[in-house]
Amino acid sequence: MKKRLVVLLLSVFLIASVFAGGSKEASAEEGGQTVLTVLTTAVTQEPEGSLAEEYIAEFERLNPDIKIEITGVPMNSALQRITTLAASGSLPDLFVNTENIVGQLADMGICEDLTPYLSEDEINNIVDSVRTGCTIDGQLVMYPWYSGPNALIYRTDWLEELGIEPPQTLDEVVAAAQKLTRDTNGDGMTDTYGFGLIGTNDDSGQTRFVMILRSFGARELYFEDGEWKTEIGTPESVAAFEYFRDLSTKYKVVPPGALENSFNENVNLMAMEQIGMLIAGSNSVGKIFNANPELEGRIGSVEMPSAVTTYTPSSILGWSLNPESEHKDAAIRFVKFMSNKENSLRWVEVTGRMPCMKDAITESDYLSTDLFRGFVAGFENMVQAPNAPFYAEVKTELGKCYQSLIMDPSLDAAAEVAKCAEAVQRIIDNNA
């Protein structure tokens, strides 16, 4: 009897699963409708998700001949997912792309050049720094949706209270951070720290270090005379590493656990009112307010402070078009709709992510607030990060170097940086 029951159960499940699966075969045409498959990171996040879904519904209403089939993927597994799909010939019509992975994806030849699909006016409407960031080898490989440039955010109320002007240079950052590092309740222990250092060896940490490195006038990787080169190892680069280290170990303006505090932890610390300044993208401000609503109106931004120059790496999230897509026109219609003026203006107010189109930028009142001053300034000066397919690897070496220096301040910085330079050069050679 029992055996029969098991057999019965098994067959029910098998049959059920076959049927449940059978109906899910993706078909390109459904009752004369074009089905556009789209892979995006927006729907797995809030508040982006609800608004994106609203936009999509509106697009479908305006274009009854097109049906959008959305798949969500978290940002941190986007590259892995897109590679998997591409390697199995299952790439959707449109997929998310960002400044971080565009080099690698373009290298796979899966990003269609969008220039032929856009009018000259449309191309010129893209903010210049963004357009550069979306272009590789003269091809427009992604269509921008929004941007989240990094700037220095700070507690306006604390700076006012201490009579500090928002810092313009990296030295002023140290000075301000030292004043902001305080024991507010007099129990002998520091409760607030001046600067939220992201010391993890991940993209957030590395990118912020590169901003400081470039401010000192050293480039981690650049293309010149037909080959990739590095300026790691120069005195400027050593000074940048030392500056980064000293924030934590000499001036002690950084909360404990610097090497485990990723961007995530630092956003928490900002929300917990434990740090006064942080290098962050415009969208993270919204997350901070979400965690601690009392901070609204008490955070401002300035462009990334400089040592000898200032550097804001381009930060763009956009769409790339599968060259084998059968619905390219529908796809183009969709991406244009998502970043049209009206949608962009609302998008920035809800998510804090900035528009990439000139018409929206000039018309947004929201962007002229204190909160956005630094982001807007940085946005206009965004510089495209090196798009070498091995750039991520180079950045990991930088991360290892600053982590060693912070962990053991007695190490000779110049020697460590020289080791790092060797490692970077080896990566370049391996990929030559």
Binding site: K3, V6, L9, L10, F13, L14, A16, S17, V18, A20, G21, G22, K24, E25, A26, L39, V43, T44, Q45, E69, I70, T71, G72, P74, M75, N76, S77, Q80, R81, T83, T84, L85, A87, S88, G89, S90, P92, S204, F263, N264, V267, N268, A271, M272, Q274, N283, S284, K287, N290, A291, N292, P293
Partner: protein, 276 residues
């Protein structure tokens, strides 16, 4: 049966310490799930929710549509566990009870399939499922999970059958039972604790499997619970209360299965005539 001796106090203390070690992080999960979002971002942390709220649970069920994820998980995991256990019990019995050519090779091969670091297998798995036309189907995930669980379950079942004295089979054979009868009437009931604990193992592993479920399902309506939870991890901020509520909801089926089945695997057999 043996006389009841007093339980050694030292042992009791050890068990209680072990429970504490387990419970501190679990306690933290549970109370976090009952806090309102801003309270989870407070330092120093609150050890008891100031405002006890079910918001996170409501959000997980309504906004993140965990109901659908649950249904997918149940279909995939129950299906794969039942099939895995059937296949693995047979293979374990076969390998333990029969001498056949290539038996060692079979057991070795089964194990070898599990030795390759799985990250590298993500892409080929996707390709093979596509070849069979099973991308985004429950059956596809079921087959994948079977292929993960069968090797280890076969080995576990094999070792359980090995602990059952073989003289019993011989005695049964003399009593006129054929091989299938021995499998069903002697080996199967005797290895029930083994089968139960192996099924629990397969069930839990499939239920919590994340990487492959994440990669092999590309549409929203096929996502499983673990994928839903994994998606809550954001690079910029984690909503702790939502995530903990989701994890606790996700673990309830496992806890229930365990509690209901524990008699099966722990008290199924006591000392008796069959053992020596």
């Amino acid at each position: 049966m043996g006389q009841r001796r007093k339980f050694p106090v030292a042992g009791l203390i050890l068990v209680i310490l072990g429970c504490l070690m387990v419970l501190v992080p679990v306690y933290w999960m549970v109370i976090t799930s009952f806090k309102a979002a801003p309270e989870t971002f407070r330092n120093p942390p609150t050890l008891w929710p100031e405002s006890f709220t079910l918001d996170a649970y409501r959000k997980v069920i309504d906004d993140y549509s965990f109901g659908d994820f649950f249904l997918n998980s149940v279909i995939v995991v129950v299906g794969s566990t039942l099939l895995t256990i059937l296949v693995a019990t047979m293979a374990g019995f076969g390998a333990s009870r029969f001498r056949f050519r290539g038996k060692g090779a079979f057991l070795g091969f089964v194990l070898v399939t599990q030795m390759f670091p799985s990250v590298i297998m993500l892409i080929p798995y996707f390709r093979i499922l596509k070849l069979y036309g099973l991308i985004n189907t429950h059956l596809g995930l079921i087959i994948v999970y079977i292929s993960f669980q069968v090797p280890l379950c076969t080995w576990l079942m094999y070792s359980y059958f090995e602990t059952i004295p073989k003289d019993l089979d011989a005695a049964a054979a003399i009593d006129g039972l054929n091989n299938w009868g021995i499998f069903r009437k002697i080996a199967l009931p005797l290895s029930l604790p083994g089968i139960a604990s192996t099924s629990i193992y397969a069930f839990i592993n499939s239920w919590n499997e994340f990487q492959f479920a994440m990669t092999l399902t590309t549409t929203e309506d096929m996502k499983t619970v673990s994928v839903g939870i994994g998606q809550m991890i954001d690079d910029t901020m984690i909503n702790w209360n939502d995530m903990m509520a989701a994890s606790i909801l996700a673990s309830i089926p496992l806890i229930l299965v365990f509690i209901f089945c524990q008699n099966l695997f722990f008290e199924g057999l006591t000392a008796g005539g069959v053992k020596q």
